[in-house]
Structure formats: structure tokens, C-alpha cells
């Protein structure tokens, strides 16, 4: 026993979302202790292609649920299918990535199962039935260790904290036998995608983020991001002011990122923001205030006016290509 069911997520174009692989990594950390199996569930209009994409990643069985009520991944529609997969997999753990989809669907699944849940899990510790999980509390000001005592437990895991497993031989794909879906009371109307030719914020190798210091002028940051092939991020102040789309907010309540290189430009470094980027390998801070808190987490700090320094940095990087 001790099986884990991983809830698979698709990108808007239908491809497998990388964060799902990180969730599979977390599932691996659980079954290493329980000796159980990893199962996965794909709930989509046509689940089969996604099931084939995920099957090679140390998954014993991929359950599929296909149907029109699963379009757009609405929680009301997806939940009964995930719960059916929990039963079929005899899972004691339900795991998904702490993405917008996971944060929407997983607690609803937990509600259906009357299961306790830990959100934004950072690590899995303990042995046997003595499992504990660590998670951020108070916007990451402290890390709590929690124990969940319901028969089934649900976890949303922070993708940046778990390694994706290596691909191997493909697991079995099995279609779920579902009851006829209840009529949906949630209707999808529209999706306004933030279209960008840049890499996705949560998956980019380099992120350049701008804060209040930009005064809303992101042109220098965009040029630097282009030179580095980087994604663009923003602080909460920038998104609140409507200078950049909300989707670009890095922080505890926005996106949590852990790129190889994070460049914080004109960002003071509020704890809320730092919680979303401190897992980055190398952090650079550029700020005109030498006492800005961002410098206490930065590997390399540069004090000065971003409107002078960023074009200079962009030129230096362009020149060295």
C-alpha cells in the first residue's frame, strides 16, 4: 500500500506541463518510503495523448478520463474524475503541483475525500506511517513541519523543490469507468492568454524582474531579457499599478521561480517577493538604494540607477555573444 496518485496538468496548448514532472518527483520521494506505486490521472477532452506523454515517468498506471465536461480544467468537472482515479489506484496520497490549476482542483478533491491537505509542500520527511511535510507559513517567514492524520492525504507541492524523474519504460494506460457526469454549473467564457515569445516565467533558465524602481518603464528590462533569452517577472507593486500583467508577479502569492539566474531590477525585496525567488541559483540585485533588503539575499549587488546600468549591462552581454 502507500500508493500515490499524481494529478496531471496540461499547458494551454495541450502538452504536458513540466510542473507535473516535479509532482511525480515528489511522488517518488513518498513511494521510496512506503514501497507503494505511483499512479497518475489525466482528465481532459481527449486524455490519451497526455497519458502517453506522462506514462514513461516511473508511473505504474495512468488513468484517463476523457469528455467535454473536462475542457479548460474546471474544478467542478475535473474533481469527480480525479476522485474516481483515487479509488481505482487505491491511493493514500494525492499529489499535484502547486500551480493555479492545482491550487484550484486539489483542495476540492480533498473536500470530496474529507482529506487533510498540505499546500506548497517543500519537502517530504519521516518514515513509515510517520510522514511529515514541510511548508512555508507566514509568506515563507518560517517553515512549518506538519503531520496529516486523515486516511487519505492531499498535497500540493512546490515544483521548484522536487526534481523531475528520468523517463523509462512506459506504464500502462487505463481508461476510468465513470458515471455520467452531473450537469456543469460552471461555464467557461473566455481565456485571455498573455502571449509572449519569451520563455515561460516558471520554467526559464534566466529571469529578469522589475519593481517599483522602473516607474513602469520596462523597456530596459525587456532589452536585457532579450539579450539573455530570459523571462520577465515583476514585483507586486508593478502588477498592482497595472504596469505589467498579473501573471508576471513573482512572490509568495504569485509565481515561485528558481532559475539559474535571477536579476532583480529596482525591487526593494519585500519578504513576499523574496519568498518567490530565493530558491534561484544566482541572484543579482540592481537598486539605487544601497540599504534595500534585496541585497541581503543577492549574490551580486550593484548600486545605481537602473536606467543607466541596465542598458550598459545589456550592451556588455550583447557584445560578448
Amino acid at each position: 500500500m502507500g500508493n500515490v496518485l499524481v494529478v496531471v496538468e496540461a499547458n494551454p496548448d495541450g502538452s504536458l506541463r513540466k510542473a507535473t514532472l516535479n509532482a511525480l518527483g515528489a511522488a517518488g520521494a513518498i513511494v521510496k518510503r512506503t514501497g507503494g506505486q505511483i499512479h497518475a490521472v489525466v482528465v481532459a477532452v481527449d486524455a490519451r495523448p497526455l497519458a502517453q506523454a506522462v506514462a514513461p515517468y516511473a508511473v505504474s498506471v495512468v488513468y484517463t478520463a476523457s469528455g467535454p465536461s473536462f475542457e479548460h480544467g474546471l474544478a467542478e468537472g475535473v474533481t469527480p474524475a480525479v476522485v474516481a482515479a483515487v479509488r481505482a489506484a487505491k491511493a493514500d496520497f494525492v499529489v499535484g503541483a502547486a500551480t493555479a490549476f492545482g491550487r484550484d482542483v486539489l483542495p476540492r478533491v480533498a473536500g470530496k475525500l474529507q482529506a487533510a491537505m498540505a499546500s506548497e509542500v517543500l519537502s517530504i520527511e519521516g518514515t513509515g506511517s510517520d510522514f511529515t511535510f514541510t511548508k512555508p507559513l507566514w509568506a515563507g517567514a518560517v517553515i512549518g513541519t506538519v503531520k496529516l492524520s486523515s486516511p487519505i492525504v492531499v498535497l500540493s507541492v512546490r515544483p521548484t523543490e522536487f526534481q523531475a524523474p528520468a523517463a523509462g519504460s512506459a506504464g500502462e494506460i487505463r481508461e476510468l469507468q465513470l458515471e455520467a457526469p452531473a450537469p456543469m454549473r460552471t461555464r467557461f467564457l473566455d481565456f485571455k492568454q498573455v502571449l509572449s515569445t519569451r520563455p515561460s516565467l516558471t520554467e526559464a533558465r534566466v529571469v529578469v524582474s522589475g519593481g517599483r524602481g522602473t516607474k513602469g518603464d520596462f523597456q530596459p528590462i525587456e532589452a536585457l531579457a532579450d539579450a539573455l533569452g530570459a523571462a520577465i517577472g515583476a514585483s507586486r507593486a508593478v502588477c498592482d499599478a497595472g504596469w505589467q500583467p498579473n501573471d508576471l508577479q513573482v512572490g509568495q502569492t504569485g509565481k515561485v521561480v528558481a532559475p539559474q539566474l535571477y536579476i532583480a531590477v529596482g525591487i526593494s525585496g519585500a519578504i513576499q517577493h523574496v519568498a518567490g525567488m530565493k530558491g534561484s541559483k544566482t541572484i543579482v540585485a540592481i537598486n539605487k538604494d544601497p540599504d534595500a533588503p534585496i541585497f541581503t539575499v543577492a549574490d551580486y549587488g550593484l548600486v545605481g540607477d537602473l536606467f543607466t546600468l541596465i542598458p550598459e549591462l545589456t550592451a556588455a552581454i550583447e557584445a560578448s555573444k
Partner: protein, 267 residues
Amino acid sequence: MALKILVTAKRVEDSESKIRVNAQGTGIVTEGLRYKLNPFDEIAIEEALRLVAKHGGEVVAVSVGSKDVHEQLRQALAMGASRAIWVNQVGPLDQLAIARCLAKIAEKEKPDLAILGKQSIDGDQGQVGPYLAEMLDWPQATFASKEDSLESQAEKSKTPALQLSTDGKEITVVREVDGGLQTIACTLPAVVTTELRLNLPRYASLPGIMKAKSKTIEEFTPATLGVDATPAITLLKVAAPPERKAGIKVPDVAALVDKLRNEAKVI
């Protein structure tokens, strides 16, 4: 079409307070901490008040906890909620127990809409809204936001972002999801949870504060609601997060590029 809206008013540590681990590592230092209304709940209350201002109806604020939560309920009342419900529970609570209490209250009150903060800023769990929706078998719209910025005219005129259909049977919600904004419509009754950028909550006015004093706070306990509040989550230990070593300041761009290339090897 008058709306009855249930909102939550959780008491949390003020995010301006310094959160530190206590000497035993079992929790945080509570001495000298200030408390306030969970900011996401404040946004939920504001949205409910705007909806009721437009469509008529009433806002009922609920909080679960010790008598201290009266402070947050009074704030909700001072902002403009009509009345409040207090679920008296001293000691640890988890999200399941809170959602079960809210579900029982929703069954009694039969609201058209429950609006909750998407998470509270202490436990950062973000579970109660979807838990509640599933327990009541209602549709849910999490992470409610809007396309207009918080500096827009729509925000200045306190227009509700949630759109009630003309027949009053459906609410349209713009959700902040990964990759953009999704718009969905939920048949009422429904659960909505609020994002940061849904609105800028009002301050309680002095007349509001005076009026709040005469508004009623009805009391329940988990037991009188028929809820088993035994927590299924135990917080065993609290620790400071791993610190990042503060690095160095470099004098100029050339030095920075050199460090990034030759020391960190990231460009």
C-alpha cells in the same frame, strides 16, 4: 434581485509584524504581535459590499476562533456588513474543520454567494474556499480578479468586478490563472475566492465604526453546529527558513559580467 452574501473574516498576524520562531521551535513568538483582518478576506468583504450596493441584499461576516475574532467581525461590520456570526472555538483548527463550520452556517443562512479570501496569510493553505464549495456541492470560482487595474476608473468608482447576470442566476468571474485571465460563469449559489487585485478595500468610516457597535454577533460553537473540530493537521515544528548568504557588492557592470561569467558561470 437582492443578494445574500456570506464572507469570511479571519484573524491573522499583521504582515508588518516580525514573524519569528519561538525558543522551543513549536510556533512563533506571539509577544508584541499585532493582529488584523486577513487581507484577502478584506478584499472579499469589499467585493460583497459593492455587489450589495449595486443589487441590494445583505452581507453576513463569519469568523471561527476565540473571542479575539470579535475584533475582525467588528471591522467587517464597520466596513458595512449587516451582521456577523462567530463560531467560538479555542485551540487549534484546521481547514477541514473551518470549512465544515462554514458549510453548516451556509446551510442555515442559505446565501446566494460565499466570498472568501483565496488564502489566509498565516497558514498560506488556500483550501477553505474549494473545501466549502465541494461540501456544499456548489460551483467555485477561485482567484477572482479583474482586467482593470487598481488605478482604473472602474476601481475608483467602486464598481463590483463580479458580474451578476440580469436574471440574477449566474455570476461571471475573471480568474487569475497561469498564463493569463480566464473568465467563467457560475450558477448561484457559488463560492468565490479573491485575489489581490480584485479591489482596494475601503477603510471603516467613523459612523461605520459607531454603527457596528449596535450590530449583532450571533454565536455558535462547532458542537452546536454539529461539527467535529478535531484537527487532522498538526503543526509539529517551526523553523527559520534556510538563509541565503548575503553576497558581495560589485563596483560596476564590467565586474558584474565578469562574476556572472567566471564565478557563477550562469551566462
